[in-house]
Structures are given as structure tokens and as C-alpha cells.
Symmetry: D2
């Protein structure tokens, strides 16, 4: 498994009139988490695009056990639990500063050629970085 932890603060603009973060906004926090996980592996996403690869989201999911409010710190644990093959699945766990698990979720991404927008195999450059984490 690969995992990385990142922290973000809730803005006023993230809340809605229920006084909690709007449910769709968590997907931006998930994005921040995976950006930092990839950067930490020295595989920043912008470099994939430079090399002709897009990773569009093909599935997204979130379960809300609790809610974050304005000015809270969100601790985002981002995990890759399986070696990617045709697609890559990324899992997220968001905890508050009391250590309570508030929101979990996952995204699934395809590998797509930037020009043709057709599916591509997982690039070897990514696999060679990921493989050591999934040794038996």
C-alpha cells in the first residue's frame, strides 16, 4: 500500500447554509490528497500530462459519517491499496483534529491518451515507482 497524509483548512466558501461543508466540495479535497501523494512519489500529475497522459475520473464515491465546519483542519489520508492495471483506484480518509473519521471515499481513474482521448496502458514509469510498495 502507498499512503500519504496532507492537511487543508475549510474556507467559508466551502460551507453551505447547513453550516457544514457542501457534499460536492469534498471531491476537491480528495483531489488535493491525490496531487500530494503523486508529488511525494516524484510523479506529479502535471508531468503525466506533459508526457501525453490524462487520468480522467471514471468513478467517484464519498460516505459522510460526520461533517467539517468552517475553519476546521481536514487531515486527508490518501491511499493506493492495489497496484494499478487498466485503471487506478485511490482511497481517501478524512479525519478531524480529534482524530475522528468523518468522510471516506474513493476515485477510480482511467489512463487516456491526451491527443486521441483513447485508453492507454498504465505507463511503465508509473508502474516502476508503484511496484516496490506492492511486493508480496
Amino acid at each position: 500500500m502507498i499512503e500519504f497524509t496532507h492537511r487543508l483548512r475549510v474556507l467559508y466558501g466551502h460551507t453551505d447554509q447547513m453550516g457544514i461543508v457542501y457534499y460536492g466540495r469534498y471531491y476537491e479535497f480528495f483531489e488535493a490528497g491525490r496531487n500530494e501523494l503523486l508529488r511525494n512519489l516524484d510523479l506529479p500529475y502535471y508531468r503525466m500530462e506533459e508526457q501525453g497522459l490524462f487520468l480522467p475520473v471514471v468513478e467517484s464515491h464519498a460516505t459522510y459519517k460526520g461533517s467539517f465546519t468552517y475553519d476546521d483542519w481536514i487531515t486527508i489520508k490518501t491511499m493506493v491499496k492495489e497496484l494499478p492495471s487498466v485503471k487506478i483506484r485511490i482511497d481517501y480518509e478524512l479525519t478531524n483534529d480529534a482524530g475522528e473519521l468523518m468522510v471516506t471515499g474513493h476515485t477510480v481513474h482511467a489512463f487516456v491518451d491526451k491527443q486521441t482521448r483513447r485508453p492507454k496502458r498504465v505507463p511503465d514509469s508509473l508502474l516502476s515507482v508503484f511496484r516496490p510498495f506492492f511486493k508480496d
Copy 2:
């Protein structure tokens, strides 16, 4: 089953540098769909809040088979397929103007007391409107 169809146009601000709608934005379109379904049943969501009820999202999901681009019309079919009990599940199907199904998803909402933020039973006012649609 209850269903309602609503249409929205994609703004430039909904797109990202991949040239397609950002994956998290679809949850706003889902919200627009359920707003209009509830309004069409003469149960607009703001009235539920006026009556002391919140319907926070406890789960959200989307599957992206294709993508919408700037200025596209999105046809949002919103469906309630089961009579709500403790929670309500709402399904969404987003098609383009060629009739192609591009994005599907669902949300699950709890019924919560606006003051105490504790779970509530589905209000009778809602059930009495919903029940006729689920007569066998």
C-alpha cells in the same frame, strides 16, 4: 418510481483544463435535479428546512461513462426508486443532446432535526406524497 427531468447548460467555470466538466461539479447538477423533483411534487426543499428538517447527504456516488463540455445541455433525469424509510436514496442519469447516457450517480440523504442535528423519522407530509407512486 418517481422521476423528473430537468435541463442545465454547462458553464465555462464548470470545466477544467482537460476541457471537460470537473468530476466534482456533477454533484451540483445532481442537486439541481433533486431540487426540481421535490419542487415538482410540491415539496420544495426550502419548505422542509422551514419545518425544522435537514436532509444532509450521507453518501454520494457518480460513474462517468463520458464527459460534458462547455456549453453542452445536460438532461438530468432524477429518480426515487424506493419509498424512503430512515433515509432517502435518489438516482441520477445525465444524458447529452444525442441521447447518450454520460454520467450516472446517486445520493443518500438522512432526515435530521434542524436544531438538534439528530436523526428524525421520515415526515408524514413527505410519505403521503411519495406513497401513491409506490403502490404495487
Copy 3:
């Protein structure tokens, strides 16, 4: 002067915990207004991009006299008050259903070559459509 009126409904996701539309969201409503004004002139913005032109925003401004809340209809009056030369300025007036003026603002856009990202002259195709509105 050129003007066009468009209407949009406030989503829950547009509000913040103050119970009103978040100040930055109005710029999306301004965008919707100018999209529809341009489309109504048979000059939809996507076609400008197809013809190699970007219209990035170089200035934006809003004055908030009142606020919109969830589920309100916003009536967006979009206006071009001067024939564009190097730049184009677009003005916005947002009124509620009681006819009260709630938010005003403007944006200024440059004309930029899509490839080189360098300034371009206003295209004749646009000027020929705009000019008849500014005959004295």
C-alpha cells in the same frame, strides 16, 4: 447598447453558512449572463474559441447591495454599453423577483490569440454584429 436578460435559480451549493450566496459565486452567474448575450447575437463564445480566440477576463467587479438566498430566481441583465476596441467591457445587474436590484458588476475581457496567448484586435466578425447597436 446591447442587452440580454437571463434567469437562473440559486442552488444550495451556492450558499454559505451566512445563509446567502457566497460572494465569489456571482461571477459564475455573470458568466452565464454573458454566454447567453453572445449566443443571442449568434456569436456563441465556443465559436470564438473554435476560430482561435480567447477572451480572458482582465478585470472583474461586483457590488452587493443585497443578497440572494437558496432557491431564489436571479434575473441577470447583461449589457454591453460601448463598442469594444482593444477590450470588451460587460455590465451586469442582478434583480430578485420583487424587482429589487441586489448585485451589480462588470467584467473586462481582452482578445487573445489561442495559440500564442498574445493580444489580438477585436475580430471583424464580432464588430460587424456589434456596430449596428451603437449607431448614434
Copy 4:
């Protein structure tokens, strides 16, 4: 003058299909800047709301000299240049990592009673913190 510097990274979801940050998104970055300035003065905004005060935005403005792209760091310098009286004006300067000034702007906020939503005087608790910075 009071000033504070904060840094944020651009997410993919902040960009649009022009490949740059959407113009309306900068107002969230401005918000992050003023949150951190107020927190740094030991006057976090949530505490003002706890004390019955809202600071709604009555005016917002941005000038875009350049643009930020995905994954850029934004350095946000937030400034209060005048002692607030009936309203407070906050200025923002956003620079990239090459030190180039890309976006400037300001917001003006009213002081409003949380219950009545009517104008209030600037609270003494805020003035007593701000005043020492404006001694001539």
C-alpha cells in the same frame, strides 16, 4: 498597515478549459488570505460570528495581469491599509514563485448583526487590535 502572507497551491478543479485558474476562483484565495490575516491577529473570523457579528462582502474587485496554472503556488499578500470605520477594506496581491505580481484585488466588508442583519459599528475588540498598526 497590517499585512500577512499566506500560500496556497492551485488545484485542477480551479482551472478551466483555457488552462488557467477560472476568474471567479480567485475570490476564494482572497478569502483564504483574509482568514489567515485575521487569525494571525488573534481575531479569527469564526470568533466574530460567535460574538454575533457577520462581515458580509459589499464590494469585490480583481485585476488579472497574468494567470496561475495547475499546481502553481500562489503567494497571497493580504493588507489592511486603513483603520476600519463603518466598513473594512482588505487588499490582496497574488504573486507567483518568480515573484511576478499576477492578480490584485480588494474586498470591502460591512459589520452586520448576526440576528437582525442590520449594520453595526466596528467592534471595539477589533479596533483595539487594529489601532496600534495605524499610529502615525
